[in-house]
Symmetry: C2
Subunit: 363 residues, 2 copies
């Protein structure tokens, strides 16, 4: 005997997916994407994937590759997105997304070529998502990177009302002989530390707990943290885009390999990330007093009663990117980075290891 049926027809819209809103959003972001295309993107309206010319044979592109190596990575912004949601501020989290990816790319010596984003949400709110894509687009343009495509997934059964998650994917290219190689790092090389713009996009699960324990609102001003900005503004400050200034330095030394290693300081801190640039037999000696720890980190440590070693393992503590360079070029590279807007500190040097090597020591 058949069950009694609910006779009202089901539609895709009634199951929580609005194709119309999705289309409206897609139209709104066309302009933001186009502004990043440059001459290398082949316009492919209605296409199933984005097209990007490598074009080795054309004079149009000055930087040709003999042995091109594609460099690819993916990253999200972690629970920093929760801050954007709680503050309802959407124009900067896209910068974080691009920065987390392209900063990883340039560590390998690559120049970023293209970027794609994945946005998952409870419900498509075109005005809100457009702000996210605008941030992505602006950051892409700063890095000369094409925002080639993206996917927006409306998943009301997976994300709570108002919730959004972001993931990004970046592709770059490097000439094989110029790709970063830990074998090139040598004792005597100088470690330059580039200042961060705050907490960037790592450790936010801990940041949320600390804010909660401190009992402060995101819209409050807390003198010990930042007298000029609210708690929310302070922690929503976007991740610094190191790619433009780093790529500029790499291009400047077309033949000489004066940059021997790099590190983007993300989860794991300076300790774990700088170690990734070191081969066996060498260590990095870093002077932790070579720069001033920004007060946001002091505030987190005090309010959360967080152990200092835990702090250094979770956060960038003020240095967001490292370049390991030949000693005779350290001052000239520092000058170039400074002119490009970076705040640079000589934070240490590479030494012959007394043990197995590959470690970052306090020195």
């Amino acid at each position: 005997m058949p069950r009694k049926k609910d006779p009202s027809p089901l539609t895709y819209a009634s199951s929580g997916v609005s194709i119309e809103e999705g289309d409206r959003f897609a139209r709104r972001i066309q302009g933001h994407m186009r502004r990043t295309f440059g001459q290398r993107v082949i316009v492919n309206e209605g296409g199933f994937a984005g097209l990007f010319r490598l074009d080795y044979n054309e004079a149009l592109f000055k930087r040709n590759y003999k042995d091109p190596v594609l460099v690819a990575c993916t990253d999200g912004v972690g629970t920093k997105i929760r801050l954007a949601i709680d503050m309802n501020v959407w124009d900067t989290i896209g910068i974080d997304l691009v920065a987390m990816n392209v900063n990883d790319l340039v560590v390998q010596g690559a120049e970023p070529l293209l970027f794609l984003d994945y946005i998952a949400c409870h419900k498509v709110v075109p005005e809100q998502l457009e702000q996210i894509v605008k941030g992505i687009s602006e950051a892409c343009r700063e890095c000369d990177t094409a925002l080639l495509g993206g996917e927006t997934a409306e998943m009301s059964s997976m994300y709570a009302p108002g919730d959004i998650d972001l993931a990004g994917f970046a592709l770059g290219v490097v000439e094989l002989s110029r790709a970063t190689d830990p074998e090139r790092v040598e004792p005597g090389d100088v470690i330059l530390g580039l200042e961060s713009d705050g907490v960037h996009s790592n450790g936010y699960s801990l940041v949320h707990k600390v804010i909660e324990r401190a009992g402060v609102g995101l819209d409050e001003n807390v003198a010990a943290l930042d007298p000029d900005r609210t708690v929310g503004e302070c922690f929503l400050t976007p991740t610094r885009l190191y790619a433009p200034s780093v790529v500029r330095v790499l291009r400047h030394y077309k033949v000489k390999k004066v940059v021997t290693g790099m590190a983007h300081i993300t989860g794991g801190g300076l300790q774990d990330n700088l170690a990734r640039a070191l081969r066996e037999g060498i260590d990095a000696k870093v002077r932790l007093d070579a720069w001033e720890t920004p007060r946001a980190f002091d505030w987190i440590q005090q309010e959360g009663n967080v152990d200092i070693e835990e702090m250094r393992h979770v956060f960038n503590m003020g240095i967001g990117f490292c370049m390991i360079v030949r000693p005779s070029f350290a001052s000239s590279i520092t000058d170039q980075l400074t002119r490009a807007g970076e705040r640079v500190h000589t934070i240490g040097e590479v030494v012959k290891s007394k043990g197995a090597g590959g470690s970052v020591l306090n020195g």
Copy 2:
């Protein structure tokens, strides 16, 4: 006056992020990734991004490109993941993830090169995530695609306990002169329809509503749906990977351009997706009785009282991929696809439009 503080120290682990479990998972999946590398991936342990050689100059790679165009796309599996969660079955959803992306890539004429995944979850359960990556890795190998990297984000404040979301990114390459171009499609071209393996990965928000309304359990057998498999098994069947057989056909015709257009049938159905391959002035005439609609779609329609037009707009209805080919090659291409394991139907043809064109008509 200072507030009274909770003196217990906060750690990253106490905020819901387990670096140890993350590392354990990363080690577990190394083998699955390595199996996809082939000779083009440059092993880069500890690196910040994956490295993939294009290597135009080496004899090692037979298929060199004069004007290489990079083709990139991103997609997720939508709320199909909810089925994997509810059934606690993890070994096939990774196949869906790869298929949704590489099937889009090959529409542009590209051969897939590399893939990256983004997995976001409430809590890292290494054994579970390993099953997902194993599926991704197996699908990548079927498509001769390197699983170059991925990101696992543990976000307990964003995802409910047990929840997981997946996104994928695929990169391919195509010789510029051989990239799919809607200008090449001409009246008289034959439309081949490749059978789907079920609902694939679109429309699952509606599928969930229908299952709910039908009041059947995922572990039940429903004769009208599928006598041999449970409801859950039926709808969890992975998205068909068309890439291997399609790439084989494209390679077979190295000089002649006999495949003039393609479409991966996803959200929007045959109607909207096939239309993306059509230029102005031409239409596609499709005989909807040229293949049998699988009974899963009939069941959804009946149980959900879903309008037939809505069904055709949301689901693939049995045809998951289309190739538009020159008429004199239709039979030979059908043979090749059949030998490669596809079930192929001649479902229609391209005609001169009586209106503006670009439409799919019932014929």
